[in-house]
C-alpha cells in the first residue's frame, strides 16, 4: 500500500521482536492478575466462608412466631359463647421498611387507618424488636385486602396476615360474664411473658377472658421459614406448631342467662342464679350491659366515651362489684344466728307494737307496718318481715356474734368467684368500725344491723351465695363459673377443685324453721311477696325481700315512693330458692331504685326460677341434670340431691 511504501526504514524483524516481548509482558501481567483474582476468591470462599455462610442463612431464614388458637368458651350444655372466626390484619415489620411514616401515609391512602390505630402501633413498635411484625389494622374487609394485594409490591415489609378474631355470638347478654378480649398493648406486655405473646394480637381484658387468660391463650409456635428478598415466605423449613388454648365450659346456662337478661330489661340492677348443691353459677346479669364485640377490633373513642359517660354505667358489673345494703334479705341469717347460738329458742315470740326502743333511749326503731304485727314467732317474723323481732334479736346477739355467724355464709368477703375485681362488701363488727372509722360501736347500730341496714354492704353475688348456703342446708361449694376445661389437642378433661362453705349445724329444726319462714314469704297468708308472686306452681319456693335505702329517713319522715326522685328511690332486693325441699336454684335479684323489694324484684326472681325449673315437668329432670346428664360432661360437682332434713 501507499503508506507502507513511504516508510522504507521499517525493520520488520525488530518490530516483531518488540511485539513479542510486549505480548509476553502482557501475558505475564494477565497471569499475575488471575493469580490475584484466585487469591481473592480463595480468601472469600475458603477463609471467610463461615462468616458468609452465616450471613447467607441470616438472609434467607427467618424465625416466625405462630399464634395459637384461643380456646373457645361454652356454656354448661355446650352452647358456644365465645368463638373464633377468620379475619385479616395488616402488619408491618419495621426493620424492613425504609421510611415508616411515608409507608403508613401511603397505606392510609388505600384504606382508613385511625389515630387510635397509629397510636397503638407506635406504642407496640417500641415494645417489640424491629424484626418482629407489628399490627396496624385489624379486620380488614375483603375489598381492602384486594386493594392491598394489587399494590403489594410497593410495600416491602408490609403484609396481610390471616388470623382468628374473637366473636361473642350472644353479645351483651354475656358481656359481664365473659368480659372481652382487646388488642394486646404495651401495658399488657409488661404483665405477661412477652415471648409467649410474640405472635398474639389480642388478650383477655376483663371477665372470664381475663381470669383464664393463661388457659385460653395456649402456647406460641415457631416456624423457621425461607424468605426471599421482599420478605415473602417461600416455604417452611422447620415447624413447631402452636398449642391451642384450652376450651372452657362454664357452669352458666345460656338460656337462663337470656331469660334473666330479659327479666331485667328496662331496669338497672343485677341477677345472680346459683345451683346450691354444686355452687355452679347459672346466670350472672348486670344491667344495662354492652356489646363486648366492639372492644375486639379496638373500641372507637366515641363509643367508649358514650359507654363511660352513661349515667347507667353499662361497663360496671353490678353483680360482682355493686355494693348494696341487704335490707330485710339479711333477716333469715339473723334469725338463724339467734336460733343456732341459743340466744332465742325456736318457740320464742315477740310482740310487735310498731316500734322498738333501746333501754333508756328515746329513739324509736319502727316496724314497716303501722301499729305493728302483734305477736310473732321466728317463722312469722320472717314471713311478715317484722322489724321489731329482729331489732330485739340483733340487740340480744350483739354485733360481734352477728358478724361471726354471718361471715360463715360468705358475707363481708369475696365469694372467690373466678372473675376479677369482685368487691368484698362490708360485714361490720366493733373491730371493723374501730379500724375503718376509728370510732366505738354504738348499740343502735346493732339494732339496725338486725334488719340489714347501717354499715352492712353486700354484692348480689354474696346474696346469691348466702341463699345457696341456706338452700343447701349449710354446705355449698363456693360459687364458681368454670365447670371444666378441655385440651383440644389431647381431648383430656380437667376439672377445677372446689372449696366449700360450711356452716356448722346445731339443730336441723332451726334451719327448717327459717326456711319455712322464707317459704311463707311467698306462700304464706301474710307473706310479703305473696301479692306479687303470681300463679300457683307445682313446687314450693322460699324467698325473702329486701329494701335498701338510698338515703336515710329522718325520724317521723314518711317514705312515699311517688314523691321521691327516681335516683333516690330505694333499691329492691329479693333472694329466693326452689324447690324448698330439694333446691335446684338460688337467686338474688337487685333492682336499683326499684322501690319495694317484693313488688319489683320478686316477680323477676320468679321468672328466672320458673325458666330454670320449667312448669314442673322439668323438675324431675332437673335433679338428674345437676348430677350430669350431659354425656359430654364428666362427673363434676354433687352427685345427689340434698338429703331431706327436719
Amino acid at each position: 500500500m501507499r503508506r507502507s511504501n513511504s516508510k522504507p526504514l521499517r525493520d520488520a524483524v525488530r518490530e516483531n521482536q518488540v511485539f513479542r516481548s510486549r505480548a509476553l509482558t502482557g501475558l505475564v501481567l494477565v497471569g499475575l492478575a488471575f493469580c490475584i483474582l484466585v487469591a481473592r476468591f480463595t480468601w472469600l470462599q475458603v477463609f471467610q466462608h463461615e462468616e458468609f455462610t452465616t450471613r447467607s442463612e441470616d438472609n434467607r431464614v427467618k424465625l416466625r412466631a405462630l399464634a395459637p388458637n384461643r380456646g373457645l368458651i361454652y356454656d354448661r350444655k355446650g352452647r358456644i359463647l365465645a368463638d373464633n372466626r377468620p379475619a385479616y390484619r395488616l402488619e408491618v415489620i419495621p426493620e424492613q421498611v425504609e421510611d415508616l411514616d411515608l409507608t403508613l401515609a401511603e397505606l392510609g391512602a388505600l384504606f382508613p387507618i385511625s389515630e387510635d390505630d397509629l397510636e397503638r402501633f407506635q406504642k407496640l413498635k417500641k415494645a417489640r424488636h424491629s424484626f418482629q411484625s407489628v399490627p396496624v389494622r385489624f379486620r380488614l374487609t375483603e375489598s381492602e385486602v384486594a386493594r392491598f394485594a394489587i399494590d403489594r409490591h410497593r410495600f416491602p415489609g408490609v403484609d396481610i396476615v390471616p388470623y382468628q378474631t374473637r366473636v361473642y355470638p350472644m353479645g351483651p347478654e354475656f358481656a359481664h360474664v365473659l368480659g372481652y378480649v382487646g388488642r394486646l398493648d404495651a401495658e399488657d406486655l409488661k404483665r405477661v411473658d412477652a415471648s409467649r405473646y410474640s405472635a398474639t394480637a389480642h388478650i383477655g381484658k376483663t371477665g372470664i377472658e381475663s381470669y383464664y387468660e393463661s388457659e385460653l391463650h395456649g402456647d406460641v409456635g415457631h416456624e423457621r421459614v425461607e424468605i426471599n428478598v421482599q420478605g415473602r415466605v417461600l416455604g417452611s423449613l422447620e415447624r413447631e406448631p402452636p398449642a391451642s388454648g384450652k376450651n372452657l365450659y362454664l357452669t352458666i346456662d345460656a338460656e337462663l342467662q337470656q331469660v334473666a337478661m330479659q327479666a331485667l330489661s328496662g331496669y338497672t340492677g343485677a341477677i345472680v342464679a346459683v345451683e346450691p348443691l354444686t355452687g355452679d353459677l347459672l346466670a350472672l346479669v348486670s344491667a344495662p350491659s354492652f356489646d363486648p364485640n366492639q372492644f375486639i377490633g379496638g373500641v372507637s373513642r366515641e363509643n367508649y366515651q358514650t359507654l363511660i359517660s352513661s349515667p347507667d354505667r353499662p361497663l360496671f358489673n353490678r353483680a360482682l362489684q355493686g355494693g348494696y345494703e341487704p335490707g330485710s334479705t339479711l333477716k333469715p341469717y339473723i334469725a338463724l344466728a339467734g336460733l343456732e347460738s341459743g340466744t332465742i329458742p325456736l318457740s320464742h315470740t315477740v310482740f310487735s307494737s310498731g316500734f322498738f326502743q333501746l333501754p333508756g333511749q328515746d329513739r324509736r326503731y319502727r316496724d314497716w307496718k303501722r301499729g305493728g304485727h302483734g305477736s310473732v314467732d321466728v317463722v312469722g317474723a320472717i314471713e311478715q318481715s317484722v322489724n321489731v323481732f329482729f331489732y330485739q334479736l340483733a340487740y340480744d346477739l350483739g354485733i360481734n356474734s352477728i358478724h361471726d355467724y354471718l361471715a360463715q355464709f360468705g358475707f363481708g368477703q369475696p365469694t372467690g368467684i373466678d372473675l376479677r375485681g369482685e368487691s368484698s362488701g362490708i360485714l361490720p363488727s366493733t373491730q371493723w368500725k374501730r379500724q375503718v372509722h376509728g370510732l366505738p360501736w354504738y348499740p343502735g347500730e346493732t339494732v339496725i344491723t338486725g334488719i340489714g341496714q347501717g354499715f352492712t354492704v353486700t354484692t348480689p353475688l354474696q346474696l346469691a351465695q348466702a341463699a345457696a348456703v341456706i338452700a343447701a342446708r349449710g354446705h355449698s361449694p363456693r360459687i364458681h363459673l368454670l365447670d371444666r376445661l378441655q385440651d383440644p389437642a389431647s381431648g383430656d378433661w380437667e376439672a377445677p377443685t372446689r372449696q366449700e362453705l360450711n356452716v356448722p349445724i346445731v339443730d336441723n329444726r332451726n334451719w327448717e324453721a327459717v326456711i319455712q319462714g322464707m317459704a311463707r314469704v311467698i306462700h304464706g297468708e301474710r307473706g310479703t311477696a305473696r301479692p306479687y308472686w303470681g300463679n300457683a306452681s307445682p313446687y314450693q319456693f322460699a324467698g325473702k325481700s329486701g329494701t335498701a335505702q338510698v338515703y336515710g329517713l329522718e325520724e317521723g319522715e314518711e317514705y312515699v315512693e311517688e314523691e321521691v326522685a327516681t335516683h333516690l328511690r330505694h333499691h329492691a332486693l329479693f333472694i329466693a330458692f326452689a324447690p324448698v325441699e330439694s333446691p335446684q336454684i338460688a337467686v338474688s335479684v337487685v333492682v336499683e331504685h326499684g322501690g319495694g323489694g317484693a313488688r319489683v324484684a320478686a316477680p323477676i326472681a320468679r321468672r328466672v326460677i320458673d325458666a330454670y325449673l320449667g312448669d314442673g315437668s322439668a323438675l324431675s329432670m332437673a335433679g338428674t341434670e345437676a348430677a350430669g346428664s350431659d354425656p359430654a360432661r364428666p362427673n363434676v360437682g354433687a352427685g345427689s340431691v340434698s338429703e331431706p332434713s327436719g
Binding site: 518490530e15 518488540v18 502482557g26 481473592r40 470462599q45 450471613r55 434467607r60 428478598v229
Partner: protein
C-alpha cells in the same frame, strides 16, 4: 457425498462448507465454546430455571458463532481496508444514540425494530482496528505525533460513550487504545507517562462523574456503610461468593440468587451466582479457561506476519482479559461496581456478538498467517 450436500437446504450447505474447511483454531474455539456452555448452565440457574432466557441466549450465541465463522474466513487485509469506514459508522451511530437512543437512566440503546443494539459495543472492535490501521504502515515504535493522533482516535469515541453515561464501556474502549500503543512498542517512558497522566486525570474524571458512579466507587471501600442501599449489591455479591465455599452449593441451589438477594444476577453479577453454586473449584476452572483463551490469542497474535494483524489480535485478547478482570474484581469487591458483563457468560446480546466477532477476527489472523506477505 457431494451430491447429497447439494440437495441440502442453503444453511446446511453453508455448514457443510464451513465443516470442510473450517479455517478456525480448534483449541481456541473449543475453549470459547466451553465457557459459553458453562454460561448457559449458570444462566439457567440465575434466571430461575427460565428456559426462555436460555433459548434467547442460545440464539444470540448461534448468531455470534456464525459471525465468528464468517469473520474467520475474511482475510485481515480485507478487514484492514474496511477499517476506516467501520470506525466512522461506529462514530455516527454513537452520535445518533446520543440524540435518539433509549435505555434506563442512560442512553445506550438503538432500537432497530428487530433487535436493540448498543453502538458502543461496535466501538470496542473498531477502535483497536482503527489504531492498528493507522499504525500499520508506520515505523514502530510510534512517534509522538502518531501517539497524539492515536489518542485523539481513542478519546473521541471514549468521551462520547462516557457521556451516555457508560463508564465501563468507555474504560474498555480507552484501554483497548492503550493496549494497541503498548503492543506497538511505545517506549516504556511514554507508557509510564501515560499511566501518570491517567492517574493525574483521576480527580478530573471524579469531577465529571455522576453521583451514582461516585457512590459506587466509595461503596467499594466500605459497603457496610449503607448495607441496604448502595452497598447492597456488593455485600450480597460477596455473601453469595463467600457462602459458596470450596465446592459450592450445587447447581440450582444458590440461595442468594434464587431468593433474589443478588441483584442483576443473570447479567453483570452472574459470576456471583456461578461462584455460589460451583464454589472456588468452579471459579478456578473458569479462570483457567479464560487464561487459556487469552494466552492462546496472544500466541496467535505473535505468529501474525503483519502489524495490523498482530496489533489487532493482541489488543482484542488483552481487552477480553480486561472484561474478565473488571467484572470479577467487581464481584469479589476488589473494584467498584462498573457495568461490565462477564464475557461469554452474562446474559445480553450485543456484547456477546461483538466478543465472538472479535474471536472471529483473531481466528482470521490465525488461519491466514501462512498466506500473508508483507507488501
Amino acid at each position: 457425498m457431494s451430491i447429497q450436500v447439494k440437495k441440502l437446504p442453503l444453511p446446511f450447505q453453508m455448514l457443510a462448507y464451513f465443516a470442510r474447511r473450517p479455517m478456525v483454531d480448534g483449541p481456541l474455539l473449543a475453549a470459547v465454546a466451553c465457557v459459553a456452555a458453562l454460561g448457559l448452565a449458570v444462566l439457567y440457574s440465575a434466571s430461575g430455571s427460565d428456559t426462555a432466557s436460555v433459548v434467547k441466549q442460545s440464539i444470540r450465541l448461534a448468531a455470534g458463532f456464525t459471525a465468528l465463522l464468517v469473520l474467520a474466513r475474511i482475510p485481515p487485509q480485507q478487514l484492514r481496508l474496511w477499517t476506516p469506514m467501520l470506525y466512522c459508522v461506529g462514530l455516527v451511530l454513537l452520535l445518533v444514540v446520543a440524540f435518539l437512543g433509549e435505555g434506563r437512566g442512560a442512553q445506550r440503546w438503538l432500537d432497530l425494530g428487530v433487535v436493540r443494539f448498543q453502538p458502543a459495543e461496535l466501538l470496542k472492535l473498531t477502535v483497536p482496528m482503527m489504531l492498528a490501521w493507522y499504525l500499520h504502515g508506520r515505523a514502530l515504535p510510534p512517534s509522538l505525533r502518531d501517539l497524539a493522533v492515536c489518542l485523539i482516535l481513542v478519546a473521541v469515541p471514549a468521551v462520547l460513550i462516557a457521556r451516555q453515561p457508560d463508564l465501563g464501556t468507555a474504560l474498555l474502549v480507552g484501554s483497548s487504545g492503550l493496549f494497541v500503543l503498548f503492543l506497538a512498542g511505545l517506549s516504556w517512558r511514554l507508557v509510564a507517562g501515560l499511566g501518570a497522566a491517567a492517574l493525574a486525570l483521576t480527580p478530573v474524571l471524579w469531577h465529571f462523574m455522576h453521583d451514582y458512579q461516585r457512590s459506587r466507587v466509595m461503596m467499594m471501600f466500605n459497603p457496610e456503610a449503607d448495607p441496604l442501599g448502595r452497598g447492597w449489591n456488593i455485600i450480597q455479591s460477596k455473601i453469595a461468593v463467600g457462602s459458596g465455599g470450596l465446592y459450592g452449593k450445587g447447581w440450582l441451589n444458590g440461595t442468594q440468587a434464587h431468593l433474589e438477594f443478588l441483584p442483576e444476577r443473570s447479567t453483570d453479577f452472574i459470576l456471583a451466582v456461578y461462584a455460589e453454586e460451583f464454589g472456588l473449584l468452579g471459579v478456578v476452572l473458569l479462570f483457567a479457561l479464560y487464561f487459556y483463551i487469552v494466552s492462546r490469542c496472544l500466541g496467535i497474535a505473535m505468529q501474525a506476519k503483519d502489524t495490523y494483524s498482530r496489533l489487532l489480535a493482541g489488543t482484542l485478547s488483552l481487552t477480553f482479559f480486561v472484561y474478565v478482570i473488571v467484572n470479577s474484581g467487581m464481584i469479589s469487591g476488589l473494584l467498584p461496581v462498573v457495568g461490565v458483563p462477564l464475557p461469554l457468560v452474562s446474559y445480553g446480546g450485543t456484547s456477546l456478538v461483538s466478543l465472538l466477532a472479535a474471536f472471529g477476527m483473531i481466528m482470521s489472523v490465525h488461519s491466514h498467517r501462512r498466506f500473508l506477505k508483507e507488501r
